[in-house]
């Protein structure tokens, strides 16, 4: 059930150039949230920024009553967020979206590009907690932008990285690196989750049948409400019942997690 609540900033720290980690005290949301869900956040009184901004839950800590957000400073909203410090309040709507459903047993793989790593951390932690094997694949432009590597290592059997400059993983595609691991280690891979790159998500489509997993992508769309009310955040999803062959689904309510094979790319 969606809530509209104040949260208090516990800490905010810079984790990489232009990337911040925000820790927020908000017990009700921490208790209700599932991995893959997100919140709408507002941290300003400025009337020029009329919309709250969507952010995935990077970590969900029900016992501490906290949620964490890993974000990239992109425009005016995130710049304002970055100015807030411990003790200040933010406004939150959430938890939004359907979140993910983990398989009962076996292994999962997480493929994140850049800030796309953010929602994967919560999934990694939950999967590990449930006794699943986690394989994490991270890519970015350069090493300093590989986010959360150490934390992922705690929850993963393996963390494989790749940077565009070739310093990590020879700059190879994460899907290729995934195939390597599958071929070498034959994990019992049930689900793959990806975020941060359309190319990565599309690259998973042909691999599903070959390796017997189902791949999901966490989509982004510009959002106004985050609660299903405005109908603004749609993506095209295959729909054989329609003459066009697709229908629009709301990323905020019907997603943000979608099977890669159902999205019209």
């Amino acid at each position: 059930m969606l809530m509209y609540l104040q949260g208090k900033i516990v800490t905010q720290k810079v984790v990489a150039p232009e990337y911040n980690l925000l820790v927020i005290e908000q017990p009700a949301i921490a208790k209700a949230a599932q991995p893959g869900q997100f919140v709408m956040l507002k941290a300003w009184e400025r009337r020029d920024l009329v919309l709250p901004r969507p952010f995935s839950l990077y970590r969900i800590l029900p016992r501490e009553g906290q949620i964490q957000i890993l974000y990239k400073i992109r425009g005016q909203g995130t710049a304002e967020m970055a100015r807030r410090g411990a003790g200040e309040e933010v406004e939150l709507i959430g938890p939004s979206g359907k979140g993910i459903t983990l398989p009962a047993t076996g292994a999962i793989a997480l493929l994140g590009r850049g800030i796309g790593a953010a929602p994967l951390m919560a999934i990694a932690e939950a999967a590990k907690g449930q006794g699943l094997e986690v394989y994490t694949f991270l890519s970015a432009r350069e090493r300093s932008l590989l986010l959360g590597e150490e934390d992922f290592a705690r929850y993963s059997r393996r963390v494989v990285t790749s940077t565009d400059d070739g310093q990590e993983g020879g700059g190879r595609l994460l899907t290729d690196l995934l195939v390597d691991i599958i071929e070498k280690e034959s994990p019992s891979l049930q689900r793959v989750y990806t975020c941060g790159s359309r190319r990565l998500a599309r690259g998973l489509i042909p691999l599903q049948a070959r390796y017997g997993f189902i791949a999901y992508v966490l989509l982004e769309e510009h959002m106004a409400c985050g609660t299903g009310a405005c109908k603004g955040c749609v993506c095209k999803v295959k729909d054989p019942a329609r003459p066009e062959g697709y229908s629009y689904q709301k990323v905020c309510q019907d997603g943000a997690v979608f099977p890669v094979g159902e999205v019209v790319w």
């Binding site: 009337r47 009329v50 919309l51 510009h222 106004a224 109908k231």
Partner: protein, 308 residues
Amino acid sequence: MAADLSVELLPGLRLKNPVMPASGTYECGSANVYNPGQLGAIVTKSVAPVPWPGNAPPRLHETTGGLLNAVGIPSEGVVAFREKVLPTLRQYDTALIISVAGETTEEFARVIQALEGEAGISAYELNFSCPNLGDGIPFGTNPDLLYQAVARARQETKRPIIVKLSPNVTDIALMAREAQKAGASAVALINTLTGMAIDVRRRRPVLGNTFGGLSGPAIKPVALRMVWEVAGAVDLPVIGVGGISNTSDALEFLLAGARAIQVGTANFANPLVMPQIINGIASYLEENGFSKITDIIGLARKGEEDWG
């Protein structure tokens, strides 16, 4: 003693307070925030005669103090609306206004026909923002088309008809007068101003539909001016919409002559904004010695002659 917030919006339709959502910006119970029964009325997203998919994404873009939306009117169609949505909406203890969309005069009539057998509908609000299938010009900007569509809808129902006006016109008072002549019970204004944005990096329009409707605080001065003009031009109740984000904004519209107000874009950032405005209006009345809200409706027009 607490001030009386109730208004008789239309003969026989008394609202417990003058605050309601703007069509398409509020879903009952979508956030667990308050009971929608507290509102003066519930207004639905516009209902189309048949299922409509809406526009291609991207559908949203934020501008300075505003929101461009090119959602279009995605709709499950009136039959699905009647079977699946209406029963839950009727549960709330407040007035229920059904927003109606169409691409032809007949389509408006068809939606109303499909709902006439249903109980619990307080009024229809006709949304004329869609281009007319015939000539592509929105009903809302062509006085003759508007007249015809309202007159046709009037034949279908005895229920109150609220005509929602588009601001993209030269003479909003003329449009309101046409609505009145055609039998409208009230007018609501404004719908969104047509706008657009260009992505300078990709060098193409941001919105899938190129054009979108501008809403939010940016448009409030235009909305208020049009409400002022229309309240002075027709003998119908006026519902003010456009950029209302707090109590002070709402009061401006009431003082300009609106008998009720709708809140749209502001719901997104602050899901509690409508109950906050209801309380805020009550406080304003009490602090300023008014016993009832009707005392302030149109009050800024008193002595209008003096200040131009």
